[in-house]
């Protein structure tokens, strides 16, 4: 099977990789590039643990072929913090203790960042709908939602 040769941008850096035609973006991130922040919970689009941002749109890494990444810009959880400075979503998840096993956390971080990028002032209902594609088996969601709402306030420069 001929490998695909792909040129793409990941977290702002040009990246070149070879992958099998049937490998997903998630497979490539984890198994080819060693970016293991994105998780595979289901592989069927239901859990959101594999969430990445592709050309500005929140997507499931498990439902996209690596070959489809050609020429696209991908942001993964590894690209959300700025150097050592955590993104407000990450900081607030820490402060709220909005995780237990944390398997879902990278997906929530990426999904919440995508939400706040396009709507820095979401209502709680909007945030809950936006995150409907991210499942958490442990926390019961309230702490996650609180963290996301507080992070949005931080991004707007308001004290929460």
């Amino acid at each position: 099977m001929a490998k695909q040769h792909v040129n793409t941008t990941i977290n702002g850096d040009p990246v070149e990789f070879l992958c099998e035609p049937d490998q997903t973006v998630l497979d490539v991130l984890r198994d080819v590039l060693g970016l293991t922040g994105s998780k595979e919970g289901c592989g069927t689009g239901d859990c959101g643990a594999c969430s990445v941002i592709v050309d500005g749109r929140l997507s499931c890494g498990c439902l996209m072929l690596g070959a489809e990444a050609e020429g696209r810009e991908i942001t993964t959880v590894e690209g959300i913090a700025e150097g050592d400075k955590l993104h407000p979503v990450q900081q607030r998840i820490l402060e709220e203790g909005a995780l237990q096993c944390a398997f879902c956390t990278p997906g929530f971080v990426v999904a919440a960042k995508a939400l706040i990028d396009q709507n820095p002032d979401p209502t709680e209902t909007e945030a809950r709908y936006w995150l409907a594609g991210n499942l958490c088996r442990c926390t019961g969601y309230d702490k996650i939602i609180r963290a996301v709402m507080n992070a949005a306030a931080d991004v707007r420069g308001e004290a929460a």
């Binding site: 069927t44 749109r57 929140l58 499931c60 498990c62 999904a111 409907a132 594609g133």
Partner: protein, 286 residues
């Protein structure tokens, strides 16, 4: 498996025509990737349609719209003119899956995957959408309700692809609506879906109406009797009840964990009535 991403419809058609084993076209991949991963489909060739302009753009054409078959549901929702003219189609598209799924899923994929419960298909049927299909034999136009022939099966010939879904120009005082019933508020498969599109004459009575139903038969249905029940009325209770009865009568559903036959038949009527009332109110406010 080989992956190709042609830049034109002609290239896509010739790749498919030249393929020796089984081939699949790829739009958003939200059905296909799941099927690939589970081994349900094992194509030798996958042809990605997302680098082809005609499949990824929305154009306004003589008052109507040509929606590229691979345009994402998220983009449909962001298109102001389309959302204003066809709120029912856009609300159906915006019900599909999560934000993550919306970023990728398309009308062409929703249709050609041929699930009886596909959300956009009843809305597209009610809208009298026509598919522009291109294949080795050239181009042909097919009414959307003639694409799916059975669960998982379509009337597309080998090597044919749906290039666009074409919506007709609308008279003023026209609108559509789509409602589905699921046991939760997000991320589930329709128990019943109903799309209604109608046009009012100047005196406020319905001059033209069409009803599409999903998840109540092996394929989505165009229920002419339900549309006819609304024509000439001002969607008063008697007319809505008649449309509901016609919708229920057209159902031939399965019994499963999501709903019994009796339940689906009943809900098809209720949703049709409600969708008709919403479409009527929208059309009247134009």
């Amino acid at each position: 498996m080989e992956y190709q991403s042609p830049g034109t419809v002609e290239e896509a058609v010739s790749l498919l025509a030249g393929a020796s084993g089984t081939s699949k076209v790829l739009a958003g991949g939200t059905d296909l990737l799941v099927q690939l991963r589970s081994g349900f489909v094992e194509p030798d060739l996958v042809v990605d349609l997302k680098r082809i302009d005609a499949l990824t753009s929305i154009t306004e054409d003589a008052g109507g719209f040509r929606i590229g078959a691979a345009v994402s549901c998220a983009e449909l929702g962001e298109h102001a003119a389309l959302s204003a003219a066809w709120p029912g189609i856009v609300e159906a598209a915006r019900l599909i899956g999560s934000e993550q799924i919306q970023s990728r899923s398309s009308l062409g994929g929703n249709l050609c995957n041929a699930s009886p419960a596909a959300d956009t298909v009843p809305a597209l049927i009610a809208a009298r959408a026509v598919c522009s299909v291109v294949g080795p034999g050239g181009q042909r136009d097919i009414p959307v309700e003639d694409i799916v022939t059975a669960p998982g099966e379509t009337s597309l010939q080998p090597g044919e692809i749906v290039v666009s879904l074409n919506l007709p120009a609308r008279p003023s005082r026209s609108a559509d609506a789509y409602l589905r019933f699921i046991p939760r508020t997000e991320m589930d498969i329709a128990v019943v879906g109903s799309g209604v599109s109608l046009t009012l004459s100047e005196d406020g009575t319905v001059s033209d109406a069409h009803v599409g139903l999903g998840a109540v038969a092996p394929t989505a249905l165009l229920v002419s009797e339900a549309g006819q029940a609304l024509v000439g009325t001002s969607c008063d209770d008697a007319a809505l009840d008649a449309a509901a009865a016609a919708a229920s009568a057209a159902c031939d559903p399965i019994d499963d964990k999501r709903g019994t036959v009796e339940y689906r038949v009943r809900v098809a009527g209720v949703l049709t009535k409600r969708a008709a009332a919403i479409a009527y109110q929208r059309a009247g406010s134009r």
